[in-house]
């Protein structure tokens, strides 16, 4: 493990070991390569970096705090838990870090239209937000089933001027929205930039989205050193496609003493088959432009996933996570709907912070992990988003109409 230089990954073709790459139709090879070149050029460009940095401070509100959840830590009776407050970002989740980066790139590439897929609606809102700010036309693809679950975010996107297109094919969730966005993109490549919302898709997306989200980990590392005088013992983040997790983990990969846990959605339990945990219970395959762990049947068809949180309801996962799993650098685990809900309520009651159901998966794992650690140990949890968007789901489960 010690001799891996994480900065060397992915390779020039976008591979993380056997994972990643560019598994796309020929029509997209040219545009994806154009994007790679633009990213390689602007990603290093001082003007671009300065503009990105300024937007993150002044528009998103970064740096987000690293908050010591003292009361909750005391109740759990183990490690000291610190929450990386991505819920305090403009639009309420980590997603905006990435949409700002990609929108700045779209602008430099001269594109006038952006498209995106969304599950929970957080990435759709974050995309519609930056599109409004930069004056770009915006179309969001969203599964019919998710439109039903996340009505508030649909309305937010429309208020922001985006067109929300319901996707009725396949399982009518995030993966189908992504298929539909890709179909739009092959048709409109000349003037359209596809803003993918997580570390999935063909190269350069997994590396590019990671780099935009790595601000989370860079800040957390610095804040932890400043506030506690040392590095954390462990990091915990939920994994849908894996962007908030890789954003937190990546700047710590070389710090051998820092353990890392990626938390997938176990839905109704891994043994039930109703879950969205490809790393824990899937196997490698190819979907949406890269090779990674997938939820698939014995014939290679992608199967329907289930999670209480729309943002984790995805049958694949970023290829870098697949690789980090295989080399053992990150441990991947899964939390059920019920456990996540319990953590949602606990954090709300004990700390006065209402977490997104996605982030509640990370919190639930932290609640199991913390008591096994010493009371001077430090555990950083990525609070990837706020829970306002989920109150209808939570209320409905309690039989309350709001």
């Amino acid at each position: 493990m010690t001799d891996i230089n994480y900065a060397d990954f992915p390779d020039a073709g976008g591979h993380f070991g056997p994972y990643g790459g560019r598994f796309i139709a020929e029509t997209l090879m040219g545009p994806v390569d154009e994007l790679r070149q633009a990213y390689e050029r602007y990603g290093q460009d001082p003007d671009f970096v300065a503009e990105f940095d300024r937007d993150l401070r002044q528009y998103v509100g970064r740096p987000s705090p690293l908050y010591h959840a003292e009361r909750w830590s005391r109740e759990l009776g183990g490690a000291q838990i610190y929450l990386k407050r991505e819920d305090l970002n403009h639009t309420g989740a980590h997603k905006v870090n990435n949409t700002i980066g990609q929108a700045l790139l779209a602008k430099r590439m001269g594109k006038r239209r952006v498209i995106a897929e969304t599950g929970a609606g957080q990435h759709g809102v974050a995309t519609a937000t930056v599109a409004a700010r930069f004056g770009l036309e915006c179309v969001i693809y969203m599964g019919e089933e998710d439109i039903r679950r996340q009505a508030i975010n649909v309305y937010r996107m429309r208020l922001l001027g985006a067109e929300v297109v319901p996707v009725t094919s396949g399982s009518r969730t995030l993966k189908d929205a992504m298929n539909e966005a890709m179909r739009d993109w092959v048709t409109t490549v000349d003037d359209t930039f596809y803003i993918i919302g997580t570390v999935a898709g063909p190269h350069p997306y997994p590396a590019m989205v990671r780099d935009f989200q790595a601000i989370i980990g860079r800040e957390a590392r610095e804040q932890c050193l400043q506030q506690t005088g040392r590095l954390p013992d462990a990091l915990v983040a939920c994994v849908g496609g894996g962007s908030n997790a890789i954003g937190l983990f990546h700047p710590f990969l070389e710090d051998e003493g820092v353990a890392m846990y990626g938390v997938e959605a176990a839905g109704e339990g891994l043994e039930s088959g109703c879950h969205a945990a490809p790393l824990c219970a899937g196997r490698p395959g190819v979907l949406h432009g890269n090779r990674t762990y997938l939820m698939e049947d014995n014939d290679g068809q992608i199967i329907e996933t289930h999670s209480i949180s729309a943002g984790l309801d995805y049958p694949g996962v970023g290829p870098e996570h697949a690789w980090l799993k295989d080399i053992g650098r990150v441990q991947y685990t899964a939390i059920t709907d019920d456990q996540a809900l319990a953590a949602f309520h606990t954090l709300t009651r004990v700390e006065g912070i209402m977490p997104a159901l996605e982030s509640s998966h990370a919190l639930a794992w932290a609640a199991t992990l913390a008591p096994t650690m010493e009371s001077d140990a430090i555990l950083v949890v990525n609070l990837s988003g706020r829970g306002d968007k989920d109150i209808h789901t939570v209320a409905a489960l309690e039989g309350i109409e709001v």
Partner: protein, 269 residues
């Protein structure tokens, strides 16, 4: 030489353009496919492209998405598709069959196992929509050894350099995607397509087929004037959808559509 090469040589000698129908295997139900393949050959198909249904057909428009969903509702697997080819071969040993689909079912079966099974079934070529030559380093030698032609797509967005890269790996024929978009959604511009074919022919001696936007006899005839093959998919698949509740009539009805195209293509010569 593969059946594909032999077929194109014969057509070239006769001064004819190949007509290649695409249908999704198992659409609307598995029992239709083999009789449909024979009926298409009788109606003038020179090669058959058989779609392997996939849950996430990203490069396909609504017509073929729905065809895949209909086939998958019957649980059609890659193994079953290969068995359909094997059955077809019992009566037809000359018409080339090319599978068209996405990589994941092949990944799951395993590259070597798939190659062996496909060759044994009588498959002549494979189009894997989401497998560009850059990612095909492992499977291409297996295909070559089994005499399966790797058919690759070229698109309006392919640069000159990419045309070279793709043609260097391609076998059988080259499939030019005539539109920027998914299958069956736009009408291609024939002047533009003609110019692109000239660019491709400057790089390769392989026959060049045109597809993705050909929907009727008129467009088939128009593209037949300069392409080596005309590939028709969504138009046939839409016809199959219309007859989904009368599957017994599908072979005859699709054959009638194909015959019109064949006549329009040959009539121009």
């Amino acid at each position: 030489m593969s059946r594909i090469g032999a077929r194109f040589d014969t057509l070239k000698a006769a001064g004819r353009t190949a007509l290649i129908p695409f249908v999704t295997a198992g659409d609307p139900k598995p029992a239709v496919t083999v009789p449909l393949m024979h009926a298409m050959v009788a109606a003038g198909a020179d090669l058959i492209e058989l779609g392997v249904p996939f849950s996430d057909p990203m490069a396909d428009g609504p017509a073929i998405q729905l065809a895949d969903e209909r086939a998958l509702a019957h649980g059609v697997t890659l193994h079953q598709v290969l068995d359909m080819v094997r059955q077809f071969r019992e009566q037809d040993d000359a018409t080339p069959v090319v599978l068209m689909g996405y990589l994941n079912p092949i990944e799951v079966m395993g590259y070597a196992a798939f190659t062996d099974a496909a060759a044994a079934a009588g498959v002549d070529g494979v189009i894997t929509v989401d497998l560009p030559p850059e990612e095909a380093g492992e499977i291409l030698p297996l295909f070559r050894e089994a005499a399966i032609d790797p058919v690759f797509l070229l698109a309006p967005t392919s640069s000159r350099q990419r045309i070279e890269t793709v043609c260097a790996s391609a076998g059988g024929f080259v499939y030019y995607v005539s539109i920027k978009g998914v299958t069956g959604t736009r009408r291609p511009d024939s002047t533009e397509v003609q110019q692109r074919l000239a660019q491709i022919r400057a790089v390769t001696d392989l026959p060049v087929g045109v597809g993705f936007g050909i929907r009727d006899a008129e467009s088939a005839a128009r593209f037949a004037e300069f392409a080596d093959a005309v590939i028709v998919g969504s138009a046939l698949v839409n016809r199959i959808a219309e007859f989904a509740d009368r599957p017994d009539e599908i072979p005859q009805s699709v054959a009638a559509l194909l015959r019109e195209m064949r006549q329009a293509m040959d009539g121009d010569r």
